[in-house]
Each structure stands twice: as C-alpha cells, then as structure tokens.
C-alpha cells in the first residue's frame, strides 16, 4: 500500500511540476528545468538553443522537428521531456558538425535546399530509415519521405539525394 502511494506521488509530481531533466544529446549531457509535459522540440530549441530542430506544425504532420532517439527517427514535437532521459538523442547539429555524414554529403552534392527550413527533418527521416535498413526499397523510401513536407518543393532533388545517400552509406 505504502509503495503504491509513493509511486503515485512521484508520478503526480512528474506530471504536474517543474523538474530537472538530464538529457543526452549529441553525446553531450544537458540539463533542463521544465514542466514534464514540455515537448522535446521546445526543450531543444528554446531551452538549449539547438535550433537546427525546427518547429513546423507541432502536431505530427510535417516532420520538420525530426530527431533521432537511439537511432530511430522521432518527431520531437510528440515526445515529452519526461520520457527523454536515458536515451541517446541526435539532432541535426550532432549528425556531424562538419556535414560529413553521408546523408549530408548527398544533400550537398545534389544542392537540395531552397529555404532549407525543412531539410534537417528530411535528412534525419532518411538517416533513421538507413539506420534500420541500408538498402530500402522505393516503397519503403516513399513511405518515410512522403511524411516530410517541403513547401519550396525540393522533392525532385531530395529524391536524387536519397539515392546518392544510399550509395554513400553503403560504400
């Protein structure tokens, strides 16, 4: 009975009150004091100034806020900070600082961006896919990349960059 109460109390505390969170982002430790329900998106952008992760919709419809959590693509607007501890988080700033990651190199070779705002999310969507499957089929690529919106309409170049990134990743 006592155990239950303590557990209940701690969950109650976690949900409703400001707490301090240790986050492992791009292999660095960060600390953030925030309400437990604060989306990781805003922690990254406004608390930690990792602004490469973009706010596009906040409701899981555009993919601009993609990050990697233990290597898998996750929409950071959909993850609350309280569930982010103990996970390796990679943002665009950590994919590689110098742009040498195969996906970034492919995007550079194909000169993809126009405004560039959605591109970190585009690149992390593909990276998450390639982390699971080094040779995805066109259908698998379509399924992932079609969830990523680009208003400038750089899809033609994204498609070329996807193909090139797969080549580079398998070299």
């Amino acid at each position: 009975m006592m155990m239950f109460d303590i557990q209940f109390y701690s969950i109650f505390l976690q949900i409703f009150f400001m707490a301090s969170y240790q986050l492992n982002i791009n292999n660095q430790q960060y600390k953030a004091e925030a309400e437990p329900d604060t989306p990781l998106l805003w922690i990254l952008r406004e608390w930690l100034d990792l602004t490469g992760t973009k706010f596009g919709c906040g409701v899981n419809t555009c993919g601009a806020c993609n990050v990697l959590m233990n290597g898998r693509t996750v929409r950071s607007c959909q993850v609350q900070v309280r569930s982010c501890t103990g996970i390796n988080i990679t943002t665009i700033e950590g994919l590689s600082a110098d742009g040498s990651h195969p996906v970034q190199r492919a995007w550079e070779e194909m000169s993809v961006p126009q405004c560039g705002y959605c591109q970190p999310g585009q690149m992390l969507a593909l990276t998450g896919l390639l982390n699971q499957n080094k040779q995805p089929t066109d259908e698998q690529i379509d399924a992932v990349m079609s969830q990523q919106l680009c208003r400038c309409g750089t899809y033609h170049r994204i498609e070329k960059a996807v193909k090139r990134a797969i080549e580079l990743s398998n070299q």
Binding site: T38, L50, T91, G99, Y117, C118, L149, C150, R151, G153
Partner: protein, 739 residues
C-alpha cells in the same frame, strides 16, 4: 466604366519602393568621397555599402534583398564578385543592415531582385576593382591601364607581377571613389552563368542557419495569441483567471485590431517565460467575441455570386483593342467558358513569428520582412512610434512566397511588447499560420472567343473576377484593384484583332494577399486553357494553333508612357517550342498517354516560361503524371543551379494548387487548420521533371515566380486531350484522382 491601368509591380512600387533600388552605395549621402579617411590601423577596404575586403583578402558582400529560399544570397553576390574579379571561395555574404541603404533597397517581391539590382551591383563591384587596380598601379609605379584584375589579384600586364586584393586594402582605402566605372562585356563573365551552390548550404545542412524563429534576445518573453476567427470581429471580454494560474505565465494582454493595410485582428496575447507555457495557457482563456454582421459568409456562395456576376459587364475595363461587338457571334462560330480557382494559403514551413522589443518608445524588431520600409512606416502609424526610434534587424526566412510582404505579425509583436514592457517573441502555431494568413484571392473568369468562316480568331473577351487584394490593403476606394496581368490586360499575347478584357471585384470578408505569381497564375490558367479549347473546337492541334498566333509576331509595348512594358510574343513561342520538343510532342505516344502544353510571359519579371506535361490515364478521371518539362527564357542566367531549383520547386508548388490546394470558408471562418486541411504536395507525388533554358543575352529577368503559371493549365490541357477537361481548381473537387 472606369479605365484604370496599374499593375501589381507599380502598386508595390508606389506604396513602398520610395527609393530607387538602382542607386549606388557610393553615390549616397553619408558615404564619404574617400572609402576610409582614417585608416590606422588599416583593417579593411569598404568602397560602398555592398562590399568589404579585409587585409586577408576575405570579401564580405552585403545582400539587401531578403533570402527566403529563392537564392538571392547567392545570385546577387555572384554579380558583385564577377565584376570585381573576386575569388569566389573568398566571398562570404551578410544581410545588409537595414538603414545602410536607401529606402526600398531591401524590398523583396515580384521576382524583381536580380533584374532590379543587376547593373547597380555590377557597378559596385567595378568600383572596388577599379580602386584595387589603381592601388596596385600606384604601388608598382605604373598606370592602371597596365594592370588587370584576375581571380582576387591584380596583375601587372607588363612584367606579370601579381598582388592579392588583401594586400591592396590599405592603399585602396586611401583613394578617391571613382564616379564613373567601365563594366565588363558579358562575354567576359566568369561567375555569372556558372553553377554555384547556395552560399549558406553547409550551414543549412548542419543546422547552424538561424532563421527569424531561431533568434533570441536577452530577457525575451514568448507570446501566443488568440484572435477572432471572423475577420473584423471585436473582443467583448476575456477571463484569464485559469490561464494566469499556470506557473510561467507573465501577463495576458489585449489590444485592438487595425484596418488597412494589414487588418490586424483584435488580439488576446498570453505572454509567458517560455513558448510551451504560453501555448498551454492560451487554451485556458475564456473569450467572448462580437463577430459583427459579416459572420455568415461562405466560399460556395461566393463562387455562385462570382459566376452570376461574370455574366454582367465588368466594373473596370482593362484592355480594349478593335471592337468585339462588331463581329457577329453565333453558337456555331464561338465558344465561352467559365473557370474558377480558390483562395490559397502560403503555408511557409517556418510558421509566422516575430520579435519586438519596445522600451520607453524605443523599438527594435527582429524577423523576416519582405517590405521592411513599409512595415516601419506602418509601425509609426499603428503603434505610436517615431521612425527614428525603430531599429529593424532582418532575418532569414524559412520560405516567403509573398507571405512576409504582409506584416500584421510585426504590428502585433510590437503592440504586445509595448503592453508588457519587455522583449517578446510572437510565434503562431500552424493552425494560426493557416487561419490568419492573407490568402491568394478566389477568382472566376468568363471567356468568350469567336472566329470567321476560315476559322481565324476574330474576338477575345475575358472578364476577370476576384476578391481584390488592393481593396484589403488600400481600402474600398482603391484605384489599383484590377489584377489582370498575365494576359488579361494589355499584355495579352495572342494575335487577335478584337479584344476586350475587364475586371470586377466581388467583396468577401477574408484577408487577401500576394502569393507567389499571384495574378499571373490566376490569369494564365483560364487563358491557356481557353486557347486550348478554341483550338480543339476548331479541330486544330493546340500547340500549332498557339504558335500560329505567336510565331513571327513582333515585340509590342503594352502601354504608352512610363508604365509601358515590352511584350515579346516570339519569346513566348520559343519557350513553348522548346518544352514541346523536349517532351517529344510530335513523336508517337503510348496508349492512354496524353500531352498538354501552356505558355506565358511573366511580363514584369521580363521572363517567359512554358510547360509540357505528359499524363497516363488510368480511368475516366484517374491519371498519373508521367513527366513535366519546363522551359524558361529569363535572359542572362546568373546562377543556373538556382534557376533550375526555382523551376523544379515551382512545379511542386503549382501542382499542389492544381491538384488539391484550397482554402474554404464557412460562416466567415477558414475551414483548414493545418497541413491536414491545407495539404502540400508530397514526395511520392512529385513527378519526374526536366528543366530547359533558352540561351540568351537579353537583360536578366526574374525567376522566382515564373515556373508556376503554366503548370495547372498544361495539366488540365493534358486531361482535356484525354477528354476530361477541368475548368475548376483544384481538380480534386471535380473528382479527379492521381497516383
């Protein structure tokens, strides 16, 4: 009928381009005759407001036009660097500080940047080069005519001695700035015409690029704003007791809206220490709005009203040639058709946001603004500020497309900052961003054409109806309301002896604004579909028929006087021929494959583009786009890579509008509230595209908007070839499906 001729370009010009973009930095007041009079210690050489060279030879080029993805932060520096024979690898760019150039220099819209600035930027580069050469000549005890510039160095052409620009900085800075400079011959261009990747490409790919939404200033608070869903609605009361209970909420403030030009709505702003708290607390507000009397309008009724109105005489006659009434029109020698297109949102990926800090009447703002001078002038009027007390910091935009030609968000942010006496970053969520956009007007067109016994076109009538933008921005008495350019004006390019075009505004309570290609898109769709309908009715090939009305037709001036523009029917024909050739128009087609074409002139951007689209029909109204070919003639091409990117992206932007893009209104409320309602084109929907360019030595034209207008008509003409014409956009509303 009133007779008024004012184009969008002139409108933008008259309202905001107070200064001339062609003025040169070195001719401006405040710029000294000598580049730098005191030069101890010597650090850099800055002959004008556009560029700076330091002693290491690193060149900074200041870009006044705003970068929003269209590539000006690469193309404009290329123009300067080419003329100064700079080493492109040593060039970096910065946003030219607001206030460092004459009013209007930062204005960015209408695909005008390259074509407006081409000569002035070349002169700015030539001034630097001339002074560097003079400095080298002085150093070598020779004359400038014995020196030449080459890739960031000056060369002594007699003894081939070389010296880097960086080593000439201190000498050059002591020299008088020349009043006259000689420009290169275009054949000597080294950078212009060669592919360059975006200047900030690496920063974009590593997440280092800072857009307006990424900026932070000390002590900054965050605002999330509740606005009345009905335009013109007023705030009755707000109960913020629940919202104020959330830890981190600083204040809830209210402010009154404004009228023209920007129609800021009454607002209730939750100001908090972080954006998440502001967004959460906003949901706890209990607000009563007075929606006013215009709260029952809907777009279905608007279109019915517009179609009914289209049968009457236009309010404004725009263009008249010959006399259409003198030719007898019967059902057998004529056709008529009505076309419709909806309101459209900008939906930039970066949601609207803006930072303002007002303290003791001193105001500083940060963010993307396509018309910053007009913004400042309105901040003076709407927020009780003095012009000299407003400092603007321009920021990169995550997409523009005309959204930030409007600046209601800047007025809102300043008002909120004034009320909380602290710096505030206003962020719209995606729902706000869509609902409170300034929409591309809904439009309806009635066209009629007739021909003689030989099948030669004799009359052309075009009545354009829309919910005018100018009525929003200038008020109901505006003289600029017609939106007819793109062929429904004196720029009409087909050779027809009797032509009448006109315009009627139909009022509707929703905010309207300029969206990429605005009126040119609105008018190209019906014109390029209707000419196709005429051809088909006359049993002629639509491509050959168009060319018969264009090929060999000489250049003509659209008007008399200073507003006149050149129209080149031949260039319109040439891009059409190129697109048709590259898609294999004259080759045998596979079963169920059909090709549609469309062409146009983007008259005030001095560019011409055509599209040819091949589709495969999979059912009566089901199709797949096999390929889209775009052809453009924009004169001298500055950056071919940037040009192609704009044209490719333009296809995606225009396909979204052709297939599914639409804003609808019910009870004066925008129905769409995000990307689920206002759907963008997706990766899997992007067809194969090819872009071809006409080689030209004509003066450079703009490219940002030119790739859109002919996409929707080319698609609809392909569908018509298959027997399934749609005269309504988006075609999804007509039951079309695509895979």
């Amino acid at each position: 009928m009133q007779k008024i001729k004012i184009s969008r370009k002139e409108f933008i010009t008259s309202t905001s381009f107070a200064g001339s973009g062609l003025m040169l930095g070195f001719l401006l007041p405040g710029i000294k005759a000598f580049a730098q009079t005191t030069n101890e210690p010597c650090e850099f050489f800055k002959p004008n407001a556009f560029l700076k060279i330091d002693t290491k030879g690193s060149i900074t080029i200041y870009v006044a036009r705003q970068e929003m993805g269209q590539g000006v932060n690469t193309s404009l520096p290329m123009i300067v660097a080419d003329e100064m024979d700079a080493d492109w690898r040593k060039v970096k760019t910065e946003i030219a500080p607001f206030g460092s150039l004459p009013e209007g220099s930062h204005d960015t819209g209408g695909s005008q940047s390259v074509l407006t600035d081409f000569t002035s930027l070349r002169k700015a580069g030539a001034v630097a080069k001339t002074m560097l050469i003079a400095a080298a000549a002085k150093l070598w005890n020779t004359t400038p005519d014995k020196c030449a510039a080459d890739a960031g160095e000056v060369v002594n052409t007699v003894n081939m001695q070389r010296i880097a620009y960086g080593d000439l900085v201190c000498e050059a800075a002591k020299l008088e700035v020349p009043k006259e400079v000689t420009l290169k011959s275009p054949k000597d261009f080294k950078l212009i015409g060669k592919e360059q990747r975006k200047n900030n490409l690496k920063d974009i790919l590593t997440g280092k690029t800072k857009y307006g939404i990424d900026l932070k200033i000390p002590g900054m608070l965050y605002a999330s704003v509740e606005r009345c869903l009905v335009p013109g609605g007023t705030l009755v009361s707000v109960d913020d007791s629940e919202a104020m209970k959330l830890p981190g909420v600083v204040k809830v403030v209210t402010y009154k809206g404004t009228g023209a030009p920007m129609h800021v709505r009454d607002g209730v702003a939750v100001v908090a220490k972080n954006i998440w708290t502001a967004m959460k607390a906003r949901k706890l507000l209990k607000i009563k709005w007075d929606e006013g009397t215009k709260n029952k309008q809907n777009t279905t009724a608007l279109f019915q009203q517009m179609v009914a109105r289209s049968q009457q005489k236009p309010t404004i006659e725009k263009f008249k040639k010959g006399d259409i009434s003198k030719f007898a029109t019967t059902p057998s020698n004529s056709i008529a058709a009505v076309y419709k297109a909806p309101f459209l949102a900008h939906a930039t990926m970066e949601p609207i946001n803006f930072i303002a800090s007002v303290k003791d009447g001193v105001c500083e703002v940060w963010g993307g603004l396509q018309l910053p001078d007009w913004t400042v002038n309105e901040l003076v009027k709407q927020c009780g500020l003095k012009k000299e007390n407003i400092k603007v910091n321009l920021a990169l935009m995550g997409g523009g497309f005309g959204r930030r030609l409007h600046f209601e968000f800047a007025i809102e942010a300043v008002k909120i900052s004034q009320l909380v006496n602290a710096p505030v970053k206003l962020i719209n969520n995606r729902t706000d961003d869509i609902r409170f956009d300034n929409f591309r007007p809904a439009n309806v067109h009635r066209l009629q054409a007739s021909w003689d016994a030989k099948g030669t076109l004799q009359t052309w009538y075009h009545h354009v109806l829309s919910t005018s933008i100018a009525v929003m921005t200038d008020g109901p008495d505006t003289k600029n309301m017609a939106e007819n350019l793109g062929g429904a004006d004196s720029d009409f390019y087909y050779d027809v002896p009797n032509v009448t075009t006109g315009y009627s505004h139909v009022d509707f309570n929703i905010n309207r604004g300029w969206l990429r290609s605005v009126e040119i898109c609105m008018n190209s769709f019906p014109i390029e579909c209707f000419i196709d309908e005429v051809a088909r009715k006359l049993k002629k090939d639509p491509l050959a028929y168009r060319l018969s009305l264009l090929d060999g037709r000489p250049m003509f001036m659209t008007d008399e006087g200073p507003g006149a523009m050149k129209q080149y029917p031949q260039r319109i024909a040439n891009v059409l021929k190129l697109a048709a050739e590259k898609i294999g128009y004259s080759k045998p087609r596979k079963k169920n494959h059909f090709i549609g074409v469309a062409t146009h002139s983007f008259i005030f951007a001095k560019s011409y583009a055509a599209h040819a689209i091949e589709i495969e029909m999979l059912g009566p109204k089901k199709f797949r786009i096999v390929k889209v070919v775009g052809a453009i003639d924009c004169g001298i091409v500055v950056n071919p890579d940037g040009l192609r990117n704009q044209m490719e992206g333009g296809i995606a932007f225009a396909l979204q509008q052709a297939l599914k893009g639409e804003i609808t209104v019910v009870n004066s409320r925008v129905v769409q509230d995000g990307f689920n309602g206002f759907e963008l084109l997706r990766y899997s929907e992007m067809p194969p595209v090819e872009i071809y360019t006409i080689e030209s030595e004509e003066e450079p034209g703009g490219v940002g908007e030119v790739g859109l207008p002919t996409v929707a008509p080319a698609l609809c003409n392909a569908l018509a070839a298959a027997g399934a014409r749609s005269r309504t956009l988006p075609i999804r509303n007509e039951g079309f499906e695509w895979v």
